[in-house]
Symmetry: C2
Subunit: 259 residues, 2 copies
């Protein structure tokens, strides 16, 4: 399996702290050593870093840990390969352009017997994840247009995510640079940090940050992960089937399954 990390913020914010914690799990405190990647939106542009090796010992991951790249939406993934060889083409997150925006996708899980409909977008590598991403974008192109309301796009995504989750494990991070859609099939947690900010300690590295010294009182920064990254904060746990749409650090649409 793999682990996911995303950030949604109302001001450009770096991911150094969370990224440092997550990437230790790529070969050091965790087994996800078969590649890692991260995408940072900057305006409509997106900046990606990928490596097919272990993040815990990657020179490029070290630069991303220590060189603050500021973004309002970021998506990160560390991989433990199941479907598809260890290779750059199989390394999340994946990016495609749709309606003049870059869409970025990362996935944790595995589906059995998924065979996508032919469509415009095609996978380059051979993971089921990238095939699912292409399937989602092909579906959106067929059922929405570029002027569709966000609510309509999200309704389509929720239906699709639900149909995938019925066939396996499908924990999803998807962004178009404006919003961040998160879907929990089995495992996801989040935290929103806002004033008054306090310190936080990573579980996976000997690192404490005092967010108060790094933020302004108006900042709202949310982090969404597979497994909580800090040992001294309360994380909000998604329920299976729950989804949340984040924008500028806050949940703007959400639904948890009824009991």
């Amino acid at each position: 399996m793999c682990e996911l990390l995303a950030m949604s913020a109302n001001t450009p914010t770096d991911l150094c702290f969370s990224f440092t914690g997550l990437t230790r799990r790529g070969g050091e405190t965790g087994p996800h050593k078969d590649g890692w990647g991260v995408a940072f939106y900057e305006g409509k542009g997106v900046r990606c870093f990928h490596d097919a090796g272990a993040s815990a010992s990657s020179r490029i991951a070290e630069v991303v840990q220590t060189h603050p790249i500021k973004s309002e939406v970021a998506i990160c993934h560390i991989r433990q390969a199941n479907v598809g060889a260890v290779s750059l083409a199989n390394t999340h997150p994946f990016t495609r352009e749709l309606w003049g925006r870059y869409w970025v996708f990362a996935h944790n899980g595995q589906l059995s017997g998924f065979s996508p409909q032919p469509g415009f977008y095609e996978p380059v590598g051979d993971t089921d994840s990238e095939a699912l991403f292409c399937d989602m974008l092909n579906h959106l192109r067929r059922h929405c247009d570029r002027h569709a309301a966000t609510e309509d796009v999200i309704r389509q995504l929720v239906q699709l995510a639900g149909s995938y989750a019925r066939r396996g494990v499908f924990n999803l991070l998807l962004s178009n640079g404006d919003w961040l859609f998160t879907y929990c099939s089995t495992k996801m947690a989040c935290i929103t940090r806002r004033a008054p900010f306090g310190p936080a300690r990573l579980k996976d590295a000997d690192m404490v940050v005092d967010f108060e010294s790094e933020t302004t009182p108006d900042d709202i920064v949310s982090v969404i992960v597979t497994e909580p990254l800090t040992s001294d904060e309360i994380w909000d746990i998604y329920r299976p089937g729950e989804w949340r749409l984040w924008r500028r650090g806050e949940v703007v649409m959400a639904q948890a399954p009824t009991e």
Copy 2:
């Protein structure tokens, strides 16, 4: 204007030497300080680095200079903005997926009054370069299919490049990871290094490399640029209107305009 750099090799080869020379021109020995980017193919995957600042003082460019990333095809660009603001979305090279492959594009020049046909691929930023790239891929999708012979694809690209070059300056690097297409509208030079290898000295940095110590006798490595990067080698200068298709370090198709 901008400067281009590409590499085609018959074995995975790093770009550290040429990249170091080119990136000095991004704010130090040259004025191209409005962003830089580089794409390295690894198998069918592609690894990109982009920055909207000056390459000569970029921490990420420094990592790419010193951390050998081995590739058979690489494309690099340093930007001096004319059309489009300085931003990540306007920073070359641009990437799109077509027929299950990543296509990478970088361009030097400017076209007057270019308005692309609507199509599937759309620019995210506001450079004429990215609009041209989308126009080329939309054209290929309309006129070829995924099983088209390389000759047919190249014939389409040559026609398109010629039509763009009649409307302005259009020096082009384009790859699908298998081959590298280069078109010279005004300025391009290349060099092919093979055994017996010798030393070479950069024009823009105090750096000499002895290729013999870094290669095997079977290696063939070609570098294509806007302006020669070394002071002690003979570069082959393209003529305006000339194009060459490179594969695994060698020219496999080419045409120079008749006198």
